[in-house]
């Protein structure tokens, strides 16, 4: 093979590898599925498993939130799909919501998921067209999760007992 060809191939490989390394350092994926999903999403080839998503949605509507998250994780293993991550966040919110206090671990998990949803949504705007939900935008859900995690004087307001889950 001529030297020029080897050099050109080497240059392309090195630049692609360097780009991959830069991407990995910027995105900090946690497992191989996230690496593969992130790379395929960056070229627009990432697809959510529709059957697993429907399963998750079914569990979510029946109030089986842990099972719903499990199915959503199967549907979107790389956590790249904004809509799936929105539902993951919503399931954390509904399961963790309490009249007296919120489950901090679930709300934190939910906040991470809604942040992912917002990050992956076009223009950072996620709106889900689902009549069963009282909060249909990522911004509303994020504000609600953040409010649940906040510790201030309003936590002692007795009127909190009258509020309802959304």
């Amino acid at each position: 093979m001529p030297d020029a060809t080897i050099r050109a191939i080497g240059l392309v490989i090195a630049l692609a590898y360097a780009t991959f390394i830069g991407w990995v350092y910027a995105r900090q994926p946690q497992n191989a599925a996230e690496v593969a999903g992130g790379l395929s999403a960056s070229i627009g080839a990432y697809r959510v498993d529709p059957q697993a998503f429907e399963d998750g949605l079914g569990f979510f509507r029946r109030g089986e939130f842990a099972a719903a998250r499990s199915a959503f994780a199967r549907a979107d293993p790389a956590q790249q799909d904004a809509r799936t991550q929105f539902y993951v966040a919503y399931s954390c919110y509904r399961q963790g919501w309490g009249r007296l206090y919120a489950d901090e671990a679930l709300f934190t998990q939910g906040l991470e998921a809604v942040n992912r949803a917002i990050a992956h949504a076009p223009g950072g705007r996620i709106v889900v067209d689902d009549m069963d939900l009282q909060m249909r935008s990522g911004d509303e859900l994020k504000a609600e999760l953040e409010a649940g995690l906040r510790r201030d004087a309003s936590n002692f307001n007795p009127l909190r007992l009258l509020r309802s889950r959304r």
Partner: protein
């Protein structure tokens, strides 16, 4: 040096070091970019490599070479720079007084090696010792000191040690896998340095010719 080595083997070797040098595996997988001091050390080490003849930049980038060949050379130089920074990152303790001390030790050792003007082989041997020692300090000595003690006596000794050092020496205990990854990374880095195109002369021979004159 063959085109395949310069265009493919060297960039891949050093970029792999750059990738793995910042890898930290705990409950989460984290990829740490090189700290600023590692970049400073990287510049110093590159200067040392050029000075001792372990790296001949003119054999990588020169007006007499084609544009494509010069681009390959530029990629190699940049990859060596990043890999060096990440090799320091991998060999340096993650926090506390040991991090400061090891960084100072790196700086002094590099300055000392540069002042000694060794030839290529001696400089590479010196780097093997420098990185090897740092690896042992981080993954063997500090790791052992930071491990939760098993027996009462050991625990008492450890508490005494922590008290004397104000807890500034103990580190988060790294998972064993981190040590294996760091070992592989440093060995790969040193292997890559051996593959670099050497210079035509060494400072030692210059000194000899000067003394003869």
């Amino acid at each position: 040096m063959t085109a395949a080595r310069e265009a493919i083997a060297l960039p891949i070797t050093f970029l792999t070091v750059a990738l793995l040098g910042g890898l930290r595996i705990s409950d989460r997988v984290a990829l740490l970019p090189p700290p600023l001091f590692a970049l400073v050390l990287s510049v110093l080490l590159l200067a040392l490599l050029v000075r001792c003849g372990a790296l001949a930049p003119e054999r990588l980038m020169h007006p007499s070479r084609s544009m494509l060949a010069n681009l390959n050379g530029l990629v190699v130089v940049l990859a060596v720079f990043l890999a060096t920074a990440q090799a320091f990152n991998a060999a340096t303790p993650d926090s506390g007084m040991p991090r400061v001390l090891v960084n100072i030790a790196f700086l002094l050792l590099l300055a000392n090696t540069m002042a000694a003007s060794p030839d290529r082989v001696r400089a590479l041997r010196s780097l093997l010792v420098v990185f090897g020692s740092a690896f042992v300090v981080k993954f063997v000595v500090l790791s052992a000191l930071s491990q939760p003690a098993q027996g009462v006596f050991t625990r008492a000794i450890q508490m005494l040690f922590e008290g004397v050092t104000f807890g500034s020496l103990t580190q988060d205990v790294p998972r064993p896998l981190n040590g294996y990854v760091a070992f592989f990374t440093l060995m790969l880095y040193l292997f890559g340095l051996v593959l670099l195109p050497p210079g035509g002369h060494t400072p030692r021979s210059d000194a000899t010719s000067l003394s003869r004159a």
